[in-house]
């Protein structure tokens, strides 16, 4: 089996363009998923029993079915209900919905892990309920959920590779088509795996850095 390094070097501009789309769709989808997941968790906590039950079902349905099936339903099923989506639109919505269920569970656990004593102490000290939520509950929750949130964002980054199946021209699609064009799969797939690996390790390191900084901030305050 030959391995052509020159070929890999010649692919770097195209790979970087694909990487840019991967990062863009990941950041947009990941942030929308986090926001929607926070909304779901907050609605479950503050929205009454009926909302809680409906959203519990939403979370269970999303978490118990594969991302690929959800994506197919959205991309191929969408046009039958008047939802004509471009591949990247389907990818973005799919990533948002899929991620939101996992983030909702992470944030729910975060809310539950904030000691009730802290919340009661804040009320006793004369804070209004809104102040308590803003100054005590949310900051403490944010600190607790940071590690699992970063972990989930890394999982979502890897899920973006699945978007190549519905023809989003991201990193995986770019390099696999170059690989089949030149019949050089070893080169294409090594570069592909290497780029994801670097991106995942860098993101993990950034997450650990943010954790340390935030922990220090919270103790200094």
């Amino acid at each position: 089996m030959k391995f052509d390094v020159g070929l890999i070097l010649s692919w770097i501009p195209a790979a970087l363009a694909g990487l840019e789309i991967t990062i863009a769709v990941w950041l947009a989808g990941g942030l929308c998923a986090l926001a929607l997941g926070f909304g779901v968790a907050a609605a479950r906590r503050f929205g009454g029993a009926l909302v809680d039950r409906a959203l519990t079902l939403y979370v269970a349905l999303i978490r118990d079915t594969p991302f690929l099936i959800q994506l197919f339903l959205l991309y191929y099923g969408g046009p039958f209900v008047g939802l004509e989506l471009e591949p990247y639109q389907a990818g973005l919505i799919g990533l948002t919905v899929y991620g939101s269920a996992y983030f909702a569970e992470i944030i729910r656990a975060g809310f539950e892990a904030v000691p009730v004593g802290h919340q009661e102490a804040a009320i006793c000290a004369g804070l209004t309920r809104a102040q308590m939520v803003r100054r005590i509950l949310l900051p403490e929750m944010a600190l607790l959920v940071l590690p699992p949130v970063v972990n989930m964002q890394i999982l979502l980054l890897k899920e973006t590779a699945v978007l190549s199946i519905v023809t989003v021209p991201e990193l995986t699609m770019t390099l696999t088509s170059l690989g089949s064009e030149h019949f050089a799969f070893a080169e294409a797939l090594s570069l592909l795996a290497g780029l994801y690996w670097v991106l995942v390790e860098v993101t993990g390191a950034l997450g650990r850095f943010a954790e340390r900084r935030l922990a220090r901030l919270s103790f200094a305050a």
């Binding site: 339903l73 039958f80 590779a161």
Partner: protein, 209 residues
């Protein structure tokens, strides 16, 4: 959505169940080895274990599946796509299971292992009879969670040409031109398989507990 379609999807679901169960068990066994390596006394073995975990957790499963599917034949090893798929899933899940088991292995009381050594038990026997059952009991929720992730991730093996649930649904959706009921039904099958797996996990928990 006629009965015939449900039947075809059920056959696909059976393949998905088979592929997943083999991959989960193989991955768990491999995960124990990788985990032991990542905790080994020898620096080189430890580095190899860590590298394995870092790579398989650091790249998408889809890319790993494509690597096995395309690179094994290029290296002169011809395997059916079903074998490549099971192997890919198992190699990937082993890295996650190794990370899951780590905490469990680290919290096995050293006294237990010393006692077993005093009794003259061989190292592999200590691993199988003492360290693994304790570690597994402590980390069972995470291990089961990963098993469910693999069941869902097995939908990706449709890309390397395995005729499982997702691939059957794709074929049916194209031929009938009715993607919504077909994919919804496929989703329902995955949901049922997940519930069964979670139920099996509950039985296992009571047995170990």
């Amino acid at each position: 959505m006629t009965w015939r379609y449900v039947e075809l999807l059920a056959i696909g679901a059976a393949v998905t169940a088979g592929v997943s169960i083999v991959a989960i068990l193989l991955g768990l066994g491999l995960g124990v080895l990788v985990c032991s390596a990542s905790l080994a006394r020898s620096g080189a073995v430890r580095a190899a274990g860590r590298l394995y975990i870092s790579f398989f957790r650091g790249s998408p499963l889809l890319v790993q599946l494509l690597m096995i599917y395309y690179l094994l034949p290029a290296a002169g090893i011809n395997v059916p796509s079903l074998v490549a798929a099971v192997l890919g899933l198992a190699l990937c899940t082993a890295a996650y299971q190794a990370e899951n088991l780590r905490g469990g292995f680290l919290s096995v009381a050293p006294g237990l292992i010393e006692a077993a050594q005093m009794l003259g038990m061989a190292p592999w026997r200590i691993l199988l009879r003492i360290r693994l059952p304790i570690a597994l009991r402590l980390t069972l929720p995470a291990v089961l969670n990963e098993a469910i992730m693999i069941l869902k991730a097995s939908s990706l093996v449709s890309v390397v040409g395995v005729e499982e649930l997702t691939r059957s649904a794709q074929n049916l959706a194209t031929s009938t031109y009715r993607p919504i009921p077909i994919y919804a039904a496929a989703g329902a099958f995955y949901l049922i398989l997940n519930r069964l797996l979670a139920g099996g996990g509950g039985v296992l928990r009571r047995m170990l507990g």
